[in-house]
Amino acid sequence: MDLTALLLSRIQFGSTIAFHIIFPSFSIGLAAWLTVLEALHLWTGRPVHRAVFEFWLKIFGIAFGLGVVSGIVMAFQFGTNWSELARMSGPIQGPLLSYETFTAFTLEASFFGVLLFGRSRVPPWFYLFSTAMVALGTTLSAFWIMANNSWMQVPVGYVIENGRFVPNDWFKINLSPVLWVRFPHMVLAAYLTGAFCAAATGAWYMLRGIFAVEARIMLRMGLYLAAVLLPVQGLFGHLNGEYVVHHQPSKMAAIEARWHDEKPASEVLFAWPDVENRRNLFAITLPPPLGSLIDSDSLSAGEVGLESIPPENWPPVVIPFFSFRIMVGCWLVMLLVAWVGSYLIHKGRIEQNRLLLWATFLSFPLPFISILSGWVTAEVGRQPWVVYGVLRTADALTPFLTARTVEISLAVYCVVYSFIFAFGIFYIYRLLRAGPEGRLVLPPAAAVPNRPMSVVDEDRLTPAARHVSAGE
């Protein structure tokens, strides 16, 4: 394949944003989970909730920090690589992303400082309030990002004047029905990420026979929450499918590998889409009207096939087809683990069931994989458009950008990211492995509001401080 500036820019944007999304999706879920833990701690007064809280706060610190660092790059890339998009859609995307930055700065950064070293300085209710504000801040950030992306998926509330998108109805943009099914879908995904990470960590400790009390809490809360949220997520996933059917027929046809118009439609479960010959190889297909039922909640609805869309408007069919199935597959496995696990917890038998503990432990990558594959479905499926139906990705590129320039930047990002993230992830792993060891360790006073990651600098505590806090 010829490596053009366009393709390289897409690879660069895709990989830097894929790296970025891992951390916010983790920290949105964790922030909500921390709020629940702190509320439980206040309500029940059990020290174990406090111990679990302090433990996950450290993990949150690193995930939050890495999310901030990798997010700064995103704020610049629209201008550097996609300057035509930035110029045309700036009047809409710019204000949405500026709201994201402003809310993130005030809610997340300032209240996070209280979380790190305000425990002894503020009343308990205010500490809980601050935790909730951090959770609200991360959720609001997600809202603005989804508002921005949803506008690119289904642009509304604008007119085109002098070659740029001029917003004429901000209510339409911020209250778009598309946004309001996609935003919950993302938040639920983040909560599921938090739930599965907590449950997997609990299962890990149980398998190793350590931290029994904490492990039970993590496992119970994680699996129960996941068992409830997964069906809701399924519902929102389905609602997302509906907007795709209505607004993005080319994406839907690619996801379903549907080549011809069908009425009522069949449903391809698995296949290898053969784009050249416009057919599916090795297909396992459910008969009509199941396709119509799944896509349009109808027994007789007609579904659009790729052949009635000009080929120059097709997305790369294979990628959304498989990424969608990976996402749904992960969801099914998570549903199985969460339901069986919850049943066993209910019966009080989970601690003896090593098979399920292993399954829970090993399922921790699943929410991450499904978030990434879901985003790949949404973004690759939108191609060849960057703003669906209005602006092509190829026309959004910085016009004078050369392949050599993007090769350089891609190489720099790859080196820097793999270097710092490998270290960050290794550090999260070390923390998780060590567990909530120094029970009720006070955050070191050296931790400060704008240094989220410093909360984990336990080695900076002097032995005396360690002793005092351990004895609390």
């Binding site: 660092v69 700064i72 629209f78 110029r87 740029r164 001029v166 704008n450 080695d459």
Partner: protein
Amino acid sequence: MIMFWVAILAVSILLYVLLDGFDLGIGILFGLTRDETRRHAMLSAVAPIWDGNETWLVVAGVVLWGAFPVVYATLFSAFYLPLLLMLAGLILRGVAFEYRYKTERMRGVWDAGFAGGSLVAAFMQGLTVGALVEELPIANGHYTGGEFGWFSPFAVLCGVGLCLGYALLGACWLVRKCEGDVREDAYRLIPYLSVALLAFLVVVFVYALAGNLRVVHRWLERPYLFVFPAISIVAAVVAAASVRRRRDGVPYYMVALIFAAAFGTLAISFWPYMIPFSITIEEAAAPYSSPYFMFWGEGLFVFPLMLLYTAISYTVFRGKVRPTADHY
């Protein structure tokens, strides 16, 4: 409405330069010493606030995009490689604050990233300002210079100059926040850095005159601009006196005043252009509904809160950094 966002943008950029300036400057000075006690003290002088300082860069970036999309698109794409290196530098120096304490073996690597990243980021910022002063090749509102259109000896000179300037700001901050060896070292460095910066300013001025840059005409057309150099001279004199008398608190404010004066000079000599001398504020502005939407939420409520929050965090961390107190 659009003037409101011009003001917000100016405040954000100025705050960024004054705050992240000393922070990057300390990163540059950090590379000059190998002594762990000194290094730790230098880091402690900025550790609580560096992240907040950098936020102003992102704020300036998104305000630019929302209110002046043409400028955002034109400048960011024109400065592709400088911005890339600046971001890489900022990332490396940012993670070093945390990572260097997690490891003994790798500490050298993160320290090198901290000093090198700060230097590169400062240099790239100076270079972009230099390229703007010299004017980017722009035709019909589109950048036409190609991937190295920003490169010129003058731009490189400005890059070096800003490194010196930031280092001076950094030294003044160290004097203000530290005690003992670090403070003494910083006091010794200040005269050298000041002389080097002065020499740089002379060279830039001569270059600007010789190159017949349009900015120079602006200065002649608008003689009131000379109020800024006058302020700078007064500030420099006060700074010199305070350094001699070892008045720790004063030099940073004086050098900050010089920076503010330089910022004012540039801003007013560019006026009404946002990209000198091809795109005006008027031409760059987003349609009315964009800045309007931004005003009623983030402009009116969130921005003042951000200023307040910045002020509070500087109040909380005021006074000298005491290395021992840091551990409890």
